[in-house]
Structures are given as structure tokens and as C-alpha cells.
Amino acid sequence: MIVGRRRSIGKLVVTPFLIALLLISVFALVFVRSQIVKLEYRLGELEKKKTLCLRERKVLFAEKTSQLSFARLEASSQSQDGFVLPDRLKVVQIGKHTRSMPSHASFKEKQLAEP
């Protein structure tokens, strides 16, 4: 009699619990999948933004490179800022020179040091 009751209580509790667990699992899977898709959408949007930013960066970089061309620097520094380019004839010799080039030009060493 007691055993039969226990079985019926077990049935009453476990079965709905398992069904609920099944449903929750199914919904959890669906939820996770929908979140992944949502993230993919967000990533897609961010990639678009990234592309736009990179495009803008390329334009700015090109502008910077144009502005830093020697011709522009030379023109603007001489006309606006009063700078002059290096001229050996205006150099005063004041001490021992650090070696920037091979003392004798030859095939053995690189002839032109980095300025």
C-alpha cells in the first residue's frame, strides 16, 4: 500500500520535472542559438563599421603622407617658419665627428649612410 503510494508520488513529481527539464533544455538551446545569431548580426554590423573606419584611416593616412612630402615641408618651413635646409657651408666644425659613412668609398661597405 505504502509502496504504491510512493510510486504514484514519484510519478507525479518526476514526470513533470523531466518534461519541464526537456522543455527548458529545448528553450535553452533555442535561446543560445538565437543569441549566437544575434551576435553574428552585431559582428556583421561591427565589421561594416570597421570597414568604414579603415576606409577613413586610409584617407587620413594618404593626407598625412601628402602633407609630409619633402616638397611641402620645404615650402612651408621656408616661407612660414623660417627654417633652412642643412647647408655644409654654414656648418661650424666644433669637434670630432661621429662616423656616419665609410671613410673611403668602396665596394666593401655601403656607400650611403641613412641621413
Partner: protein, 566 residues
């Protein structure tokens, strides 16, 4: 009653399931392939891989050519039905007449370009008009940030980024990259999901031997010379005499490679390697080194040129002045035609031809730029009666400026003919070296003694009594040679009386040469002599270049030193 309803309900349910089952079977088994293909098309967006050419750098890593991402405007004629007012607003934005723009749009088809590679601000303005049937595609546009600087070296590309000139053409297999397609998932509204795949393919980068600053110095001085002498054109090549690396190569007139397609042909000519000219007296290097190498003369051998002229094959060739009895050194120093012809007669036509070939005359230098010509020197068996009087003074031969500067570089470096080159390295997009120029590509053509002796003679050219006093640079000795040659008039096929080519070629510092350079000015007005027209240009370029390269002065006693500003 209840039983009857239940039977009807059950039958309806079963029938309904049967219909569903039939439809599912149809979809999944019988029509599966077609529907799967259709579904694939609907939820897959196909994008072209954006191909970006590699960047071109100068030897210090300054960018000379790079890429921009610009938007190109297209139209779908099927959905494009704007009002006349809209057309009138759109047309000026794309630089078209409204009527012309409409006439270019066909009635059928789904795609036609309206305007390629619009500036960003223009694209924004067009987008703001919100016209149905118009769309944008992102495309790469090659951009040359330094404008016309080194345009003949860098070259340019066409609207589809196809290489057309210069390094862009020569190194296209490195600079270009293969395209392709990228597939992305999309939903019904066209929104794409991230695939995590980059849709950009980058080419390899190129590092040139050209130096932006030296190039600018050369171009600036050529512009000045062109203006001063109202010349038709000018060319200069600056080279490292030991490695053959080209530090600067400039031609005038020049063009802006950003609009290379619309530049006229004469502006695009890279005269340094594609145009031949009769070199005049700079060709006396062949007679000089040949005579010294064959031990037919010494610098002090005497030549009687007091008559001021010499007859060869019935033609009299004269000197500018009567010099009397002069040494072989003075023959070169004063550029005596008579003395050179006398030395040439001693050397003989076989030897003249042999030494010209040894110095690279009449053959391509092998520079890595497209369109180089070989020049021309006739074989001895084809020489006419006047050739022995013409060739020793640089007539009846055709050379390029690059050939001449290479020959003089052989004097500078002790007798080696180097291979001029313009690219030093090829780098992968992540800046790893893929290829680099092989140093040591040179050919011994003269003995060191002959090179040294002739160098001493060339030094005298820029000293008092020489033809190129105006080429001398404060602080360092210059070795070089002037050249003045008549041009052939294409109408009469004879030497023109008013069209000349003035040139100066040399190297500096003479005893420790860092740069070898040639300056050629075509058709100067007012003055014609190389010592007056081209030599001062050489001096100005050399003066600034030596400062930039931090080459010490040789006239300061003791240790060379740095450096404070006055």
C-alpha cells in the same frame, strides 16, 4: 452523433497530416536540389575580394604609392526612374551633363556604371539624394601622395588598377594580388552575418633605391634649368657608383600619376632610358680610357692641335678655340675635338668600338624599368669615311643618359661596370623580405690604374682651364665631362643649327665618390654649351645632395666634424 463527429475530425486530422507529409516528401526528396539551390542563393551574399596593390616606398620607407578605398556609383536601369529634377541634382555631382548621363543608361540590364571612384564627400552627397536604383561599390584607387615626384619611375595604373607604366608595370607580379569571392550569410532583409573572413587581398610592397629628398632636389633644379634656358626638356640621373642603385631619376616635363591617363605622351616619356641622343663630348671617355688602357698615350702625351681643325673623309672638324700644342690631359680638359680625333685615329676603329661596348654603349643597362632602349653604335665594318672623325667626338652614335652615367660610374668605382637598379627590396604585406637586389652585379671593364688616371683627368675639367669650372662644388672635388651635341632636325635629316643637347656627367667627391650623376638639357635657348647650361645644374644638385647625405667637406683640415648652425 459524437462518434460521427469524431470520425470526421480524425479523418480531417489524418488527411491534413497526409497533405503535410506529401508536401514534405516533395520538398525534401523530389524537388530538393532546386529548392536547396534557391535557398542557398537567398541566404548567401557573394562579395568580391577587394584587391589592394602593394605600397611603394622610397629607400627611407616613405610612401610613394598607396591605396584609397573609394565608392563607385552604379545604376540598376530596371529600378532607376528618377525625376528630371533629381537628374539635374545628380549630374553635377558626377561631372556629367544631365542629358549625356541619361543617354548612357540603357533600357535593359541590371548594372551600369555612373561614375567610378568618387571622392568620399561626393559619395556622401549622392547618398543623401536617396535615389532609388542607384548603388555603391567600394573599389581601391591607387593614390600617389607626392604628386608628380618620381612619376617616371613609379608609373601609374588605369581605372581598373591595371599597370600602365614604370614600377607599377615592371613589378606588377609582386604588387598585384589575386582576387576571388567571399560568401557571407544574409537574412531576408539583406543584413549580413559575420563570416570572420577578410575580404581583402594585399599585394607585396616594393622598396625603391630612390630617395624622396634627393629626387626632390633633382626635380627642383631641373625645373629651374628648364625655366632659365627655356629648354624643351631635361633629364637627370643620380646613381650610387658602387652599387648601381638609382638615387634619383627625373625628367622634365613630368606629369601627375594621379591623372596619368590624361597626361600627354611627351610628358610620360622616361627620357633617361627611352630616348637616345648623340652624346657629344661626354663620349670622349671611350677615346680617353681606350688610349690609356692600350698605353697609346699618357696624360702628358702631346698633341698638336694648333691648326684648330682636322679633315676626316673630306669633312673638316674644328675646335671652338685654337689651343696650340696641348697634352692629352688638356685634350679632355678643354674638350678638344681635334685632339680627340687624333687620339681616336691612333686607337683605331676596332678598339673604339670595343671600348664603347666595354663601357656599355649600344646595350641595355638592364635597369628594372620598362621601355629601356639599347642605343646604337655602328660596327667598325659599317663605318663611313667620316665616322672616324665623328664617333670620337660623340657623333654618329646614340646613347641614353643612363648609359653615360653608368660608364662614368666605372671610372668612379675603379673600373667596374655596375648594373643600375631601382628596386632594392620586395616585402610581403607583413613586411618580411621576399626578394632583394643582389649586390655585386658588376663587370670589371678597365684596369684600376686606367680608371684612376682618367679620374685625375676628369678632375681637371672642373678646375681652372677646364670646360666645367661651373660644376665645381665648394668643399669637394668634382670629376666630370661636359657635352654639347647638335640635334638632328627631323625635317631635313641634317644637324640642326639651333637645336642642341647640353650635358654634364660626373661624380663627387672625386676621390671618394658617393654620387655619380648626369644632367642633360634638351634644346636650351640662349646658351648651348654643357659647361654653361648643364654643369651649374650639376653643381646645385651636388651641393644640396652632399649636405643631405652628410658627406664631409674635404677642404677642412683635421678630423671632420659636426656641426652647429651659424
Amino acid at each position: 452523433m459524437r462518434t460521427g463527429r469524431a470520425v470526421i475530425l480524425h479523418t480531417a486530422v489524418v488527411f491534413g497530416f497526409l497533405i503535410v507529409a506529401y508536401r514534405l516528401t516533395d520538398l525534401m526528396l523530389f524537388d530538393h536540389e532546386r529548392l536547396a539551390r534557391r535557398a542557398q542563393q537567398q541566404h548567401t551574399a557573394v562579395e568580391d575580394v577587394q584587391v589592394r596593390r602593394g605600397i611603394i616606398f622610397d629607400r627611407m620607407g616613405r610612401e610613394l604609392a598607396l591605396n584609397l578605398d573609394l565608392e563607385s556609383l552604379y545604376c540598376d536601369p530596371k529600378t532607376f526612374a528618377p525625376s528630371w529634377e533629381t537628374i539635374r541634382m545628380l549630374a553635377p555631382l558626377v561631372d556629367r551633363e544631365p542629358q549625356k548621363m541619361l543617354s548612357r543608361i540603357p533600357d535593359e540590364g541590371r548594372f551600369v556604371w555612373i561614375k567610378r571612384k568618387l571622392p568620399p564627400e561626393t559619395a556622401d552627397k549622392v547618398r543623401a539624394l536617396n535615389i532609388e536604383g542607384l548603388g555603391f561599390v567600394t573599389e581601391a584607387k591607387r593614390f600617389y601622395p607626392k604628386g608628380d615626384l618620381a612619376s617616371h619611375v613609379i608609373g601609374f595604373v588605369g581605372i581598373d588598377n591595371q599597370p600602365l607604366e614604370g614600377i607599377e608595370l615592371q613589378y606588377d607580379k609582386y604588387l598585384g594580388a589575386k582576387g576571388g569571392k567571399v560568401f557571407r550569410e544574409r537574412d531576408a532583409s539583406g543584413r549580413t552575418l559575420s563570416s570572420g573572413i577578410s575580404a581583402e587581398a594585399k599585394g607585396n610592397n616594393i622598396v625603391l633605391t630612390i630617395d624622396e629628398v634627393l629626387q626632390r632636389i633633382v626635380e627642383k633644379e631641373l625645373d629651374r634649368a628648364l625655366e632659365q634656358w627655356r629648354a624643351a626638356a631635361a633629364t637627370a640621373v643620380m646613381m650610387d657608383p658602387y652599387s648601381g642603385g638609382i638615387l634619383a631619376l627625373a625628367n622634365r616635363p613630368a606629369y601627375d600619376p594621379n591623372a596619368g591617363g590624361s597626361a600627354p605622351g611627351f610628358e610620360k616619356r622616361n627620357r633617361a632610358i627611352t630616348d637616345c641622343y648623340e652624346p657629344g663630348s661626354v663620349f670622349k671617355i671611350v677615346i680617353g680610357v681606350g688610349s690609356l688602357e692600350e698605353k697609346l698615350v699618357t696624360p702628358n702625351s702631346l698633341f698638336d692641335v694648333s691648326r684648330g681643325g682636322i679633315e676626316v673623309g673630306g669633312k673638316v672638324i674644328r675646335d671652338v678655340h685654337k689651343y696650340g700644342v696641348i697634352t692629352f690631359k688638356e685634350v679632355i680638359q678643354k674638350s678638344s675635338n681635334v685632339g680627340s680625333i687624333m687620339a681616336g685615329m691612333r686607337l683605331g676603329k676596332e678598339n673604339i668600338y670595343r671600348y664603347a661596348k666595354l663601357l656599355g654603349i649600344g646595350e641595355k643597362t638592364g635597369i628594372d624599368l620598362p621601355g629601356e632602349v639599347s642605343g646604337w653604335i655602328p660596327k667598325p665594318e659599317h663605318w663611313s669615311g667620316t665616322s672616324l672623325g665623328a664617333i670620337p667626338i660623340g657623333q654618329e652614335v646614340a646613347v641614353t643618359p643612363l648609359q653615360i652615367v653608368r660608364a662614368y660610374a666605372a671610372i668612379a668605382n675603379g673600373g667596374y661596370l655596375v648594373r643600375p637598379h631601382i628596386v632594392s627590396e620586395v616585402l610581403s604585406p607583413d613586411r618580411k623580405t621576399l626578394a632583394s637586389f643582389r649586390d655585386g652585379e658588376r663587370r670589371a671593364v678597365l684596369s684600376a690604374k686606367t680608371a684612376e688616371t682618367f679620374k685625375e683627368i676628369l678632375k681637371s675639367v672642373t678646375e681652372d682651364g677646364g670646360t666645367a669650372r661651373s660644376a665645381s662644388v665648394d668643399g669637394n672635388l668634382v670629376a666630370g665631362k661636359t657635352g654639347t651635341a647638335q640635334m638632328i632636325d627631323p625635317r631635313t635629316k641634317r644637324y640642326s643649327k639651333d637645336k642642341y643637347v647640353s650635358s654634364f656627367v660626373g661624380f663627387v667627391p672625386a676621390d671618394n665618390p658617393r654620387i655619380a650623376m648626369i644632367v642633360v638639357v634638351y634644346e636650351p635657348k640662349g646658351q648651348i654649351y654643357g659647361g654653361v647650361v648643364a654643369a651649374p645644374v650639376f653643381r646645385e644638385i651636388a651641393r644640396q645632395a652632399l649636405s643631405y647625405l652628410n658627406v664631409p667637406r674635404e677642404d677642412v683640415p683635421g678630423k671632420q666634424a659636426l656641426l652647429a648652425w651659424r
